[in-house]
Each structure stands twice: as structure tokens, then as C-alpha cells.
Amino acid sequence: MKTLQYILLLITLTGCNKFLEVKPKDSIPDDVAIVDKASAQAALRGVYRGLASDGYYGNSFQSIGYLSGDNVQWTGSQSIVQQFIEHKVRSDNATVASIWVAIYATINKANHVIANVPGLNDASLTTAERNQLIGEALFIRALAYFDLARTWGGVQIVLTPTLSSADKKGIKRSTLAQTYAQVLADLEAAEPLLTLPTTQNPVRANKETVWALRARFHLYQKEWALAETYAGKVISNTTNYQLLKPFSSFFTPASAVATKESVFELSYSATYTNSHRGQWQPPANGGTRQIAPNNAVIALLNDPLTGGTRSTLLGKTVAGLWYANLYYRSPATDPAYIIRIAELYLIRAEARANQEKLPESKQDLDAVRDRTGLTGSSAATKADLLLAIENERRLEFAFEPHRWYDLIRTGRAGTVLNLTDPLRYVLPIPANELTIDPALEPNEGY
């Protein structure tokens, strides 16, 4: 009968609900995620990691900017990449879907910080620190909506963290103007919360980073005076930001990260690698070189009169194949460059040219040219200057995600890319998302 007693014991033991409550060891429940200063800081770092994820600035989002331009070719087999180059992106394109997902995931992470940090009850969290946390999250959310807007047009705006699967049902797309208004609202909210950096720290956002993004934002809105002002505010801090000479010193040697060139860049490490290099580097360097510079850009970069020292962006294999060498480190710790000081010079040059401040504009343009070992621009008229700036940007950011957006915002895509259908100036809303969310409307023409 001892056995029977034993059975009863086991039954009472197992009947205990505790046995059925098992908690993971490498994750924590939602409700204890942001509870104090340390957990809020950790959550904010998670927002940056989201921004740096493969689908966003780690790889896919950046690829839209250069693939859709006219600098690169695709040597691989997947036609989903070729679709960008040919501007025939289909709504079932998997890259488009992964970018869309990655950007909204980053927004949700930022929303958690923005929603939870104000109410935190932690004596060790100073007001300045609290403001800093919220301000950085607002900045990242602004950048995310800016990227959504310039890629897809007006999108659905979500400003609260998601707590259950039913949270975000029935939200309609905002207009492009409303989406850009949200970007500006977040930037304006972030600006007073953030401080000026005591020492340069381009891997995190501060007041100057907000100004830099505002400069770009106003440029896109053709608000030339504002663009000029905000670009100028960043350029004026020459302690923190400088046009480095030679050109390659912002990305070589491998130890060159967070240089004075960068206003905002994302950091990678052996733990969190940047998947970018794989598609750029040739097999001899452990890559696939499926994305490669095309003949046109190779010629321009190698031409001492146009490329200058920017030819260092290119490498050549033993077999004579050219490849882009901006992302090359092993382990793959190449930073993702989001805003470089050169961009702010070129933003101001364009803003000034549009305000007929031609000599000042040329001065900014030449600053960038001079850095790369070129003589001053010969452009004399506004039109010439704008074209010179456009061409300069093409090479200055040859393998960074600018060309496509530049040609779209200046209305030059038709002329330069021979892309006359304006419906193709935005990407399709991912077909999957349209199936999942009945409130989401497709972009016209897809």
C-alpha cells in the first residue's frame, strides 16, 4: 500500500499549478520590460538596434536607395533585386515587405520608450536623462516616418506601443503631408529634450542630429531657408564635424568608425554584424558581389576630374572585376552611414542655390569637391549649380542610399532614369500587408 500512498503524493504534487508555469530565461514578460532607469536605457538601445536591423539600415532599406538609382548592377540570380534596378518592383517583392516590417518594428520599439519613460518612478533617473531617453526615441521615430514617407508616400501612423494583436486594427493611411507633419512634430518635440553633445557621439542622437535630419527634411519639403539654417547649425560645429581628407578616411582603415565625418551613423560589432558587405565584396573576400558598381559609375569614380579620391570606393579582383569597397570589414562591423557632414554641405549648397545665393552655394559644393581632391566647380548659373550638386551627390554617395530619393524629390527621375511614370516614384505597399490589413490601401498603379 506504500505505492498507493506514493501515487497520491505524486498526484497532489503534479496537481500543483506551479509545475505548469515555466518562464524563459533569456526574455522577460512585457509588463516588466521598462520599469526603471536601467531598463529604460536598455529598451532605448533596443530601438537603435531595430534601426540598425538587416531589414532597415543594416541592409535592405539602404539597398532601395542605391539599387533604384543608376550606380549599381545586380549580378545575382534573384529577379526581386533586379526589379529595383529596372523600376518594375512588384507588390510581392520580398525585400519591400521586409523593409516595411523592419521600419514599423522600430517604430513600435520607439513607441514603447516614448509611452513608458515619462511615467517611470525611479529616483535615480534625472529629468535630463529622462528627456534624453524620450528625445532619442522621438528622433528615431521621426527618421522612421520620414523613410516611410519618402519611400511609399503617406502611411498609417501609429504612436502607441502595441500590447495585443488587436491593437492596431482599422487604421487608415495618412496623406503624405500628414506623414511629413508627423516627422516634423517628432523632430520639434525631440529638439528641446535633447542636449548638445559635449563630445562628438555620432552613434547616438542629440540636438545636432535632430538639426541634421531637419535640414534634410526641409530640403525634401523645398523649404530652402530652413534647410540652409539647420544645415548651417550643424556645419558650424567644426569641433565635432569635419570633411575628412582624404575621402577614404571616414571608412578606412577598419578602425575608422564614428569619425568626424559622421553626424549620425549606426554601430555594428562582432556580436551584431552588418550584413551589407556580403553582397558587395567579391568571392575572394568572402562575399558574393551580387551587387556591383555598374560601368557608368566605375568610369565616373575613376575619372580624376569627377571622382577624385573617391576612386578609393572601388576595388578590383584578380580577375579584373570591380567591386564597391565601402563595406568590407571582417567581422562585418562596417557602420551604416546615415548622415555625413558632406551631406549637410550639399544640402546647404542646394538650398542656397535655390535661394539664388550662388557664390555661397558654390562655396559649399567646392568644400566637398576640395575634400576629394577636385578643383572648384565651373558651374555659374543656378541650373548649372543644381546639376553640379546632383552629380556631386551621385558620386559622393555612390553606394549610400541617396541617389534614388534625390532624383525623385528633384523631379529629375524622368530625365535621368528615363522613368516617366510618376506612379513608379513610390514603392508598392507589400501585397501581404494588404491581405492582412483591410484598412490599408495599395499605392496606385501596383
Binding site: I28, A33, Q82, G286
Partner: protein, 1009 residues
């Protein structure tokens, strides 16, 4: 035949007459019914004489002997040696081991087949053990009705696709529950290294030679006792044990053989490839509208080297890489066992070693195993016992499927044939993102070692007469050790990485404790009651430690400790399950059988609101043969109707913490440029209502025995309906998530199973039996809130109203003979072909499948033949998708010989469109042109053996030859219609870089002492 007997009879009479005549006349009767038996074969030992009993069961022997020693054999009865003389000539035959008297292993017990109310297939392991695959589940293909088994690849030790009565789930497991000697074993591959989509099989850790019997429990009445894990069927494995009071028996088995790919892909030669690419350029130039495109296609790439080209087409060489990669593989197998028992103890000791090379270099599987099963009677009432199996499975791994770096099959198959293997300077050449094949073959260093213990300890005690108690403790422990080293010759380890090494050690342990109490009572020979109650507690922990290093001083250093950069990671996950179960059975006069089972399962996996689930089932059987109107009807030897209904669940295969809303810790980022600091991020959405899937199943069956069981027929029809499907349900990306676990979908499976076993001939020297089975399963996704796409490029789509494993494609109607352009079906009729025109076309699930086996023996010879077949399944041939790229991939992919059938001039009728970069011909990736019929009929095995029995001190020696996959009849254009690129359970029949199953030849010898 009859004349022959008459002749013999006459002949023997004549002989007898010549000497002193002495006639023996007797009758053969059934020992139970006492009825005379007609047609019984009677052999006179020491002679070649055979006679047959007449219509009244009478026989006559005429001769000179005073006594005859006879061997009597009759279908449906036990063979018997008897001595007869004129005074004692009556022969009484004991009915034989009839199918209905078979002991069938059921959940927590055994039953006679005649008392079953459920659908259970039994397979005798001895019938299939010579099939040279690593896992016993693969050996069962074609053997059990209602069970679809496909080997996904030809690599030994890889996972197989096993479905019992169809697929019930999308995101939870669809594999049956495997139980070895009472241990619920892990059947999820612990593999983490990339092998190109394949996954290793945990089942391959079990030595098939240790197995005695396999039972497959199919309907709810049989599986409901396994509750929340029973919905996909249950496979119960019983390993070999000794017998009390038996002499020690030693069995030695050795086999050796060779395996080779029966067929490979048909590729273009270098000149053909060049011609096609030039044609592609010429056509594209003609089609080009923009200036950029006109420049791009202005010059054909295969023009004279002097003009900057790659040389003219006819100057191209052809390099055969497939021949370098594929080999004639060696297979060796050694088995040794000792079994026996005394009065109180019985034992089985087995040791085995198997070494199977894959036909793809340098992959191989080898397994060493040891088994010790002991049972000991402590007293008349108490028995204790252990089952222990220890295995070490070692694999040389490699990437065979998708993915360029380190992928040997892609490197061999997908590199254009005109590209040389070495560069001009003699260094190995790499093309199109693939590694150099020879470098891979010479430097591959990816290995996995699985160390597995599956064991059980039990105590059986008879507390009161008829009341039995059993307690058992079980452990399934697996240490799975993987390592990769990519030296600087390989793409992954090339400079600037300078060597890349990974190490991953995963440990999976499950412990189980079970108690059962059973009581059986027979009242008045008519009423038979049985009751069983029991409980289980089970806990599973899976944890792993991963390390990676890169930057090695040289290729001589291969351990991570020597690497310049080192990273590490760790995982841990746990689940608990606690259950109570009961079964009550009752039978009346062996005529009516009833059964009721129920299980309550509490699982840690599910939402706070849903911890416990209840799974009942009922079954009833009516043995019509026992009714008076049929009892005397001899032509029908058995007839039974069965019906069952019940509810089972499914909780396997999902993340242990799927119901919880969690944040991950792996999202670090620097505060300034001085290195990462810890970071957190939302990981998954909570669902407090998450619960197990529920499958309702109805089953009706007939068991029919004809002519003293000469023919046995089992027929089942079933209907399974699964609700609350565990789904990783897509959510709108604006939530910040892509999916969450929910109970949403519904899936149905309906079908029938027919199994026919016949004894065609049974004589003293010649025996021939045949088994045939055919099954049909119709699967349908009845309810799914939104379609779910699978695999890259969404080849496969799960959507409401369609079957699982459906392909989602653009339908190519034809190639216009005038223009050469492919014409696609414009489903929505909007004048353009876009995603709205994709449709479900084709399905990888078969309409019918089954097998046919024949066993023949003549004197010492035996011959076995197994055919398996499948009809109506489709394959999406991704190899052709790449190999018929029309030149769009130029130097990046091979062109298949089938590309040569392209349209060239007006009037050409073909389905391969005109080569061009423009239009839809080669840019619509999901083209139905690559969808092929995957039906097949395979001569799976042919075994010929000879047994020598008259060797002193040796019980028997059998030498045998086994050929596998000797013949395959199929319309599929690839080498093997049984293929699948991925271990993703929602994908079947997607063929890319999948090594075919080899054709193999083995010789073996089996000695029993």
C-alpha cells in the same frame, strides 16, 4: 498440381505393393472444432512423398513401415510433426497464429487484434530491416496503410516526411508521437548547422536491428489515450527482449554494399550554353527600347577573345562537375546480439555499427549503438526491468540544398559548364557566388555527433488477483555536438575572415514518470471487463551553447580558442506536462467489444486561461463471424465491423513560451562609440488564450478473413477535422510584429485505407505471401483568416479552400508559336499579369499511395520484393527554374539541356519560350511551367536470400543480397521524385539541389548460434 499428387499416391502405392503392404488410414481434424479438414498436405519424412487429405479429411498411407513420421501443413493451422501407425492414425491440427489472435501493442497495454475497436497497423521489423536507410521510419514506406512516408533526400540519416492520415497542422508538429519502450522520444532535429535546408533525423539514433515490432496507432480510439499529443497518430516501438527459460542465442549479421545515384541532371555543354546566351543577347537587343538596354545587349558575350569576348561558342570547353561530386558510396553494417533467459531473468544484449557514405562527397552517417534489456522476476507477483539504448551517431555534414556559400551541390550543379575549374594562374576558380567544388570536397569540415540515451526502468506488481500496478521512469537524453571549420580556401573562411569556426552543443533531456493501475475481470466466460487508470508527469529541457570564432593564425588552428574574434550565445527552454488517463473496455461473448478512453493533459506551453485539456474517445466492434448465421459459414473465416470516434490534441512543435508576451535581451547597442551595452526589445505578442489543437476523428472499419485467412482484408474510412489550429498568424506590420501564435485555422483530412494480405501458396517447400495496401487522403484547409505564404519567393501558399502543400503560381498557358512569347492566364482579366493572377496550381500531396510486397520462399531460398508508389503529387522543379533561366542569368547559372527546346522561329511549338530579358518569358519567377507530375512507382527493395540449416552447432546461416531503388517509374524530369529542399514542414515537393536517393546493392550474412 492435383494430378501430380495422384501420381505420387499411385507411385507410393505401387512401391508398397512391391514389398510388404501395410496400410495406414486416418482422419485429419481441427483440434478445436473437431471438424474434418480436407486438402491438408501430408509429407512423409525421409521421403519425397506428399499426399493430401480427401473431402472427408481422410488419408491413406500404403507402405512397408510400421510407423510413419509425418510433417503436416495446412493453411491457417500450425505446422506439425506427427507419428502415425495403423493403431493411431488420427491427426489433430491446432489452429495457427491467426491474424485475429495477434497481440497488438496499444497505449499502456496490449490487446488481441480481435478485440480492437481501433485502426492500428503492425509491422514486423524483421521484414524491413535490410533496407539500407538510417531510420526505421523510412523503412516503413509502403508497408502501412494510411501512413505516407517519403525520404526528403538521399543523404543517410536525414529526416523523413511521415504523415499518419494526413496533415492536421500548419505551425505545430505533424509528425506522429514516437514511443520507444514506453519513452516518449524527441523527434525534433537538434541540428543548428546549415546543411542547405535538410535536417537530421533523431529517429536515426535508434538502431533498426534492435526493434521487434512497430505499431502505428491511427484513429482516435487508439490515440486518445495520448491526449494532447495523439492527433498525428502514435508510433509505438517495442525493442527485442529475451525469453525466460531459453538457451543463449547469438545472432551475427554483417552486410556490405555500394550505393550510386541512378540518374543525375542533364546539362548543356559549354558550346550549347554559349550559343543560348548569345541568342539571348541578340533577342534582347532586338527587344530593347531604352538606350541603356541597347548598349547592354549590343555585343554577344561569346565573341572572339580578341574583341573582348569570352571566345566563340564553339571554342568553349565543358567541365563536368557533377561527376566529381557524386561517388559510389560504401555501406557497411555490423550487428551482434545475445539473448536468452533463465528461470527468473531474461536478457537481450545488442551491439551494432553502421557506416553509410552518402553518394555526395564527403557526407556520411555512422552509428554505433548498444542495447541492454533485462527483465527480472523478484517474486511471483513482482517484476522489474530495464531497457537501455545508447547510441552515438556521427555525421559528416555538408550544404547540399539552397544557398551559395559552402553549398557543394549548387556549386557542382549550378555553375555554368563552360567555366573552368581553375583560374589562368592555377588557383581554384570560384564562379557565380559559389565555392570552388574541389576546394569544398578537399576542405569540408562540418561534423555532428549525437550521443543519445533512451532508457526506461519499470516495476510491475500484481497487488491482488487481476489488479496490476506499474510504475516506470524514463529518460531520453541527447547530447548533440556540432562543429564547423571553414578554412581560408573556402568562401566562408576566405580572407578577410581568415578561417571561421563554430561550435554548438545542444542538450535535450526528457524525463517521464508514469503510474498505471489496471484491473481485468472475466465473469461467467461471457463478460470481460478491463479498466486502466494512470498518470504521467513529464519535463523537457533543451539548451544549447554556441560559440564562433574567426581570424585564425593559419589553417592548422581549427579550434575557436585560437581565433582572433570570438562570440558566444546560449539558449534554454523548458516545458512540463502532467496528465491523467483512463481506459475502460468491455466485451461480451467475444462478439461485442466496447472501449472508452480519456486523457486530461495539463501543459506549461499554453495560455494562463488554458492549462488543462480533456480528450475522450469511444470505440465499438462487432464480430459478426461469431454470430450464429456466420459461424458455420466456412468461406468467411473472420468478419468484424469497427467504429470509433474521439478527440485528440496537438501541442508539439511550437515554442514553449509561445503564449507569453516577452521581451528579448539580445538587442544591445553602444551608448557612445566604446562598445555594445545591453539592450532589450519586444519579441512576441502574448496570447493568454492559446491552447492545443483539437482533432475530432471518426473511423469505421471492416476486417475480413476469407478461406481460412488465406485472404485478409482490412478496410478503414476516416474523417479527421482539426479546429483551433496553432497558427503563427500574420498581423499587420504596423503592430511592430509580423505574427503571433493563435488558435485560428481549421483543417480536414478524409480518406480511406485498404490493406490486403494473402497467402498464395503454402506448402512444405514453397511459400508465397503478398501484401498490398492503398490509401487515399484528401486534405483541405477549411478555415484560415488570411493566406500564409511559405519559402522564399512565396512558391507555396496555404489558403482557405485549398489543400496544404499547394503551389501558388502564374499559369503559363502556352508559348505563342508566332512570337515565341509565353502566354499566361490573366485571371483577373485586367490586361496585365500581376500578383492578382497567381493561383493555386498543383499540390505536393498524393491522391493515392501505398505499397505492394511479396515474400516467396522455396526450400532454403527466400525472395522479398517491395514496391512503393504514390500517385497524383506535384513537384515544383526549382532546379529547372534556375537551369531554364533563358540566359537571363548568363554566367551565374547553368543551363539545363531542356533549355535547348526554346522557341527559335515562327512555327516552333514548344513550352520553352523565346530567350529574352524583356516581357514575362523569363522574369515571372513563379511559373507553372516548372510544375511537374511527381507520381512514382519504385521497386524499393528486392532481397534474395539462402538459408543453410544443417551446419553443426549453428542454428542457421543466411546469406542474402538486397537491392534498393532498383527501378523507378516516373514522369518527373529530375533524378528522383521523392525530394524536398527543406525541413520546413509546410513544404513538400520543392526540388532544389536535393541529392537523389541512391540505388544500392548489398550482400549480407546472418549467423544464428
Amino acid at each position: 498440381m492435383k494430378q501430380f499428387y495422384v501420381f505420387l499416391l499411385l507411385f507410393s502405392s505401387y512401391n508398397a505393393w512391391a514389398q510388404q503392404a501395410q496400410t495406414v488410414t486416418g482422419t485429419v481434424t481441427d483440434a478445436v472444432s473437431k471438424q474434418p479438414l480436407a486438402g491438408v498436405s501430408i509429407f512423409i519424412k525421409g521421403t519425397n512423398k506428399e499426399i493430401v487429405s480427401d473431402a472427408e479429411g481422410k488419408y491413406t498411407l500404403s507402405g512397408t513401415a510400421k510407423e510413419y513420421v509425418l510433417f503436416v501443413s495446412f493453411l491457417g493451422y500450425q505446422n506439425q510433426d506427427v507419428k502415425v501407425n495403423p493403431a493411431n492414425a488420427h491427426i489433430s491440427l491446432q489452429p495457427g497464429n491467426r491474424t485475429i489472435d495477434e497481440i497488438v501493442v496499444v497505449g499502456y497495454g496490449t490487446q488481441k487484434r480481435k478485440n480492437l475497436t481501433s485502426a492500428i497497423s503492425s509491422v514486423n521489423a524483421a521484414e524491413v530491416k535490410d533496407i539500407p536507410v538510417a531510420g526505421f521510419n523510412e523503412q516503413l514506406q509502403g508497408k502501412a496503410s494510411g501512413v505516407q512516408i517519403n525520404s526528403n533526400t538521399g543523404i543517410p540519416g536525414d529526416g523523413a516526411f511521415v504523415r499518419v492520415r494526413g496533415t492536421t497542422s500548419i505551425n505545430a508538429s505533424n509528425d506522429p508521437l514516437y514511443i520507444v519502450d514506453g519513452v516518449f522520444i524527441n523527434n525534433t532535429s537538434l541540428q543548428t548547422v546549415n546543411s542547405g535546408g535538410r535536417a537530421t533525423s533523431p529517429i536515426a539514433d535508434i538502431n533498426p536491428n534492435d526493434i521487434k515490432n512497430i505499431e502505428i496507432l491511427k484513429d482516435a480510439s487508439a490515440t486518445a489515450i495520448y491526449g494532447a499529443r495523439g492527433a498525428n497518430g502514435v508510433v509505438i516501438i517495442t525493442t527485442k527482449r529475451g525469453n525466460f527459460n531459453s538457451k543463449p542465442t547469438v545472432s551475427i549479421n554483417y552486410s556490405t554494399g555500394w550505393a550510386k545515384a541512378p540518374e543525375l541532371w542533364d546539362l548543356t555543354t559549354g558550346p550549347q550554353h554559349a550559343t543560348l546566351v548569345n541568342e539571348f543577347y541578340a533577342n534582347s537587343l532586338a527587344d530593347a527600347t531604352s538606350a541603356a538596354d541597347k548598349t547592354k545587349y549590343a555585343l554577344p558575350p561569346f565573341r572572339p577573345v580578341s574583341q573582348g569576348g569570352r571566345g566563340l561558342p564553339e571554342e568553349q570547353k565543358t567541365y563536368d562537375r557533377l561527376d566529381k561530386l557524386f561517388r559510389t558510396a560504401r555501406i557497411n553494417n555490423y550487428d551482434l546480439s545475445l539473448s536468452g533467459g533463465g528461470k527468473g531473468t531474461k536478457y537481450f544484449i545488442g551491439a551494432s555499427y553502421t557506416d553509410q557514405e552518402a553518394i555526395v562527397k564527403p557526407l556520411s552517417f555512422n552509428r554505433g549503438s548498444f542495447r541492454l534489456n533485462v527483465d527480472h522476476k523478484v517474486s511471483d507477483k513482482v517484476m522489474v526491468g530495464v531497457s537501455n539504448g545508447i547510441t552515438r551517431s556521427y555525421r559528416k555534414q555538408g550544404r547540399t540544398g539552397d544557398g551559395p556559400a559552402g553549398g557543394m551541390l549548387q556549386s557542382a550543379l549550378h555553375t555554368p559548364t563552360y567555366l573552368p575549374e581553375v583560374n589562368a594562374d592555377g588557383t581554384p576558380a570560384r564562379w557565380a557566388g559559389f565555392d570552388n567544388l574541389q576546394v569544398l570536397i578537399d576542405n569540408y569540415d562540418v561534423n555532428t555527433t549525437s550521443l543519445r540515451y533512451i532508457g526506461n526502468l519499470y516495476v510491475d506488481a500484481e497487488l491482488l488477483p487481476g489488479l496490476k500496478f506499474r510504475s516506470s521512469w524514463s529518460l531520453d537524453y541527447n547530447n548533440y555536438d556540432e562543429s564547423e571549420y571553414w578554412n581560408d580556401q573556402t568562401q566562408l573562411g576566405a580572407a578577410p575572415t581568415n578561417g571561421l569556426a563554430t561550435s554548438n552543443i545542444t542538450q535535450n533531456s526528457t524525463w517521464i514518470n508514469e503510474q498505471t493501475l489496471s484491473w481485468r475481470k472475466n465473469i461467467g466466460n461471457k463478460h470481460d471487463f478491463g479498466i486502466l487508470i494512470g498518470n504521467t508527469i513529464q519535463s523537457n529541457i533543451t539548451k544549447s551553447t554556441f560559440a564562433q570564432g574567426s581570424g585564425f593564425p593559419s589553417n592548422s588552428f581549427t579550434l575557436i580558442s585560437a581565433a582572433a574574434t570570438r562570440t558566444a550565445s546560449q539558449t534554454w527552454t523548458k516545458s512540463n506536462l502532467t496528465s491523467f488517463f483512463s481506459r475502460i473496455d468491455y466485451s461480451y461473448a467475444d462478439k461485442y467489444v466496447f472501449e472508452f478512453t480519456i486523457r486530461a493533459d495539463g501543459s506549461s506551453r499554453f495560455g494562463e486561461n488554458r492549462k488543462f485539456g480533456y480528450f475522450p474517445a469511444i470505440g465499438a466492434g462487432w464480430r459478426i463471424k461469431e454470430e450464429p448465421f456466420l459461424k458455420e459459414f466456412d468461406a468467411i473465416s473472420d468478419l468484424k465491423f469497427r467504429v470509433s470516434a474521439g478527440l485528440t490534441g496537438n501541442q508539439n512543435g511550437i515554442n514553449n513560451f509561445a503564449a507569453q508576451g516577452n521581451w528579448t535581451g539580445g538587442a544591445g547597442y553602444p551608448d557612445n562609440s566604446s562598445g555594445d551595452k545591453p539592450g532589450t526589445a519586444p519579441q512576441q505578442l502574448a496570447n493568454p488564450d492559446l491552447q492545443w489543437e483539437k482533432t475530432r476523428q471518426l473511423n469505421a472499419g471492416v476486417d475480413l478473413g476469407i478461406l481460412r485467412d488465406r485472404v485478409n482484408i482490412e478496410f478503414n474510412v476516416y474523417s479527421k477535422y482539426t479546429t483551433d489550429n496553432l497558427l503563427q498568424l500574420p498581423v499587420s506590420a504596423i503592430t511592430g510584429f509580423t505574427s503571433y501564435y493563435a488558435n485560428e485555422g481549421e483543417i480536414s483530412n478524409k480518406g480511406f485505407e485498404l490493406a490486403i494480405n494473402t497467402t498464395n501458396i503454402k506448402t512444405r517447400d514453397f511459400n508465397w505471401t503478398t501484401s498490398f495496401n492503398i490509401s487515399r487522403n484528401v486534405n483541405k484547409v477549411e478555415k484560415l483568416p488570411i493566406p500564409i505564404n511559405q519559402y522564399s519567393r512565396d512558391w507555396v501558399r496555404i489558403q482557405e479552400g485549398s489543400s496544404l502543400y499547394s503551389f501558388w503560381l502564374y499559369k503559363q498557358l502556352y508559348v505563342d508559336p508566332q512570337t515565341g512569347n509565353a502566354v499566361f492566364e490573366d485571371v483577373v482579366k485586367d490586361g496585365s499579369i500581376n500578383v492578382a493572377d497567381r493561383q493555386i496550381l498543383g499540390n505536393a500531396a498524393p491522391d493515392f499511395f501505398g505499397g505492394l510486397s511479396n515474400t516467396l520462399s522455396y526450400k532454403g531460398f527466400d525472395l522479398g520484393l517491395l514496391i512503393s508508389y504514390q500517385y497524383g503529387n506535384d513537384i515544383f522543379n526549382l532546379n529547372r527554374f534556375f537551369g531554364e533561366g533563358g540566359g537571363t542569368r548568363d554566367a551565374n547559372r547553368v543551363l539545363f539541356a531542356s533549355q535547348l527546346k526554346r522557341w527559335q522561329k515562327p512555327g516552333d511549338v514548344t513550352d520553352v519560350p523565346r530567350l529574352t530579358a524583356f516581357g514575362n518569358n523569363y522574369t515571372l519567377e513563379q511559373n507553372s511551367r516548372f510544375l511537374e507530375d511527381g507520381s512514382f512507382l519504385k521497386l524499393r527493395t528486392l532481397t534474395l536470400g539462402y538459408t543453410l540449416s544443417k551446419i553443426p552447432k549453428v542454428q542457421a546461416v543466411r546469406i542474402y543480397f538486397t537491392g534498393s531503388n532498383l527501378l523507378t517509374f516516373t514522369n518527373y524530369s529530375g533524378p528522383d521524385p521523392e525530394v524536398n529542399v527543406t525541413s520546413n514542414q509546410n513544404i513538400q515537393g520543392l526540388d532544389i539541389g536535393t541529392p537523389p536517393q541512391p540505388r544500392s546493392f548489398q550482400f549480407g550474412i546472418n549467423v544464428t548460434l
